[in-house]
């Protein structure tokens, strides 16, 4: 590629400011999918309830369908019977999408090191933020969510599409 020639991805790359606004809009309106598996789901509900109020971060609209959600909080143990379902749900979510593995079980199988449990949901789907705890406090979840917001804010189109642009030109 020529040195000074603008590459294809720079052509369609919108300026940084716009990117920032895009990232901001994504980070402040993260709608999680209502999807709970086990104990952590109760703490997730508690995080959405009055005391902790997930809505303060613009993430209060829990959507029941993955098609309209941006974030999947894997709250609980993932078993072999459930894994295909989670995979399907993840595939149904439109880009950009994020995953938080909440609690020990989703992160690494937790205490359930047994025949029917998957040792960490990152074996099935890519995970953005891991939150340990059994279950994590709602504040813990909020902290993890803020770290996710950080990640969204610092993400750039260039990074996201780097591979593909390098590949095709």
């Amino acid at each position: 590629m020529g040195v000074m020639q603008p590459s294809a991805f720079e052509q369609i790359l919108i300026t940084t400011k716009v990117e920032k606004v895009m990232n901001w809009s994504r980070a402040t309106s993260v709608w999680p999918v209502t999807f709970g598996l086990a104990c952590c789901a109760i703490e997730m509900m508690a995080a959405g309830a009055s005391r902790f109020d997930f809505d303060r971060f613009g993430a209060g609209i829990f959507r029941a369908t993955p098609r309209q959600a941006d974030l999947m909080i894997i709250a609980g143990t993932v078993t072999y019977k459930m894994a295909p379902v989670i995979k399907t749900l993840y595939d149904q979510m439109p880009e950009p999408k994020w995953v938080i593995a909440m609690g020990s079980c989703a992160t690494a199988g937790g205490p359930f090191d047994s025949y029917h449990t998957i040792q960490g949901v990152d074996k099935i789907i890519p995970v953005d933020v891991f939150i340990p705890g059994c279950p994590p406090r709602p504040e813990s979840l909020i902290y993890g969510f803020m770290k996710l917001q950080d990640k969204i804010m610092t993400s750039s189109l260039a990074d996201r599409y780097k591979d593909i642009f390098e590949e095709v030109g």
Binding site: T107, F130, G144
Partner: protein, 167 residues
């Protein structure tokens, strides 16, 4: 006739609306006040989260007055741990009679924070501190190593103060 009237006039719904309306007014008119707000939101990121004294956060290796790790590798915690997340490698250190842990692995991503290890420890050398802000981007970041584990951050930290795993 009475029943018909009751069906016609939605007094039950009005009762419910009164309750919710009352709460709305209370919160709406006090939300901007510092004193006695009627919402019960714990404004967590700005206000330090209230944690009860017995709260079980992440595992910490305690140090003695000389700044040395107190653990003497009795392996009680390793044995009692229901999820087998603790692995200790025994070793020696100069100038110390008791064994010294060469490696103290604490697999935080599997830990269930049950405090059995602390209970079993006869030397009071470990403790579960009050830290709950433990989220990371990678699973590997959870292994803090001995130094990370022995940083005695007892108080719950406001956002940003923490942590080893942050970088």
């Amino acid at each position: 006739m009475n029943k018909f009237l009751r069906t016609l006039i939605p007094s039950d719904i009005a009762k419910g609306m009164a309750i919710t309306g009352k709460h709305f007014c209370k919160v709406f008119f006090t939300a901007n006040r510092r004193k006695v707000p009627f919402h019960i939101v714990s404004e967590y990121p700005e206000v330090v989260a209230k944690v009860q004294p017995r709260y079980r956060g992440r595992l910490t290796l305690l140090k003695d007055e000389q700044g040395e790790i107190k653990c003497v590798c009795c392996l009680a915690c390793e044995k009692i741990c229901p999820t087998q997340v603790i692995t200790i490698e025994k070793g020696k250190k100069e100038g110390r009679k008791m064994p010294y842990p060469v490696r103290y692995d604490f697999e935080m991503e599997r830990c269930i924070f049950c405090e059995f290890c602390v209970e079993s420890c006869g030397f009071d050398s470990i403790i579960l501190n009050h830290q709950f802000e433990l989220a990371t981007y990678n699973r590997e970041d959870f292994s803090l190593g001995m130094e990370g584990l022995s940083q005695n951050m007892f108080e719950p930290s406001p956002v940003g103060k923490f942590s080893v795993a942050d970088d």
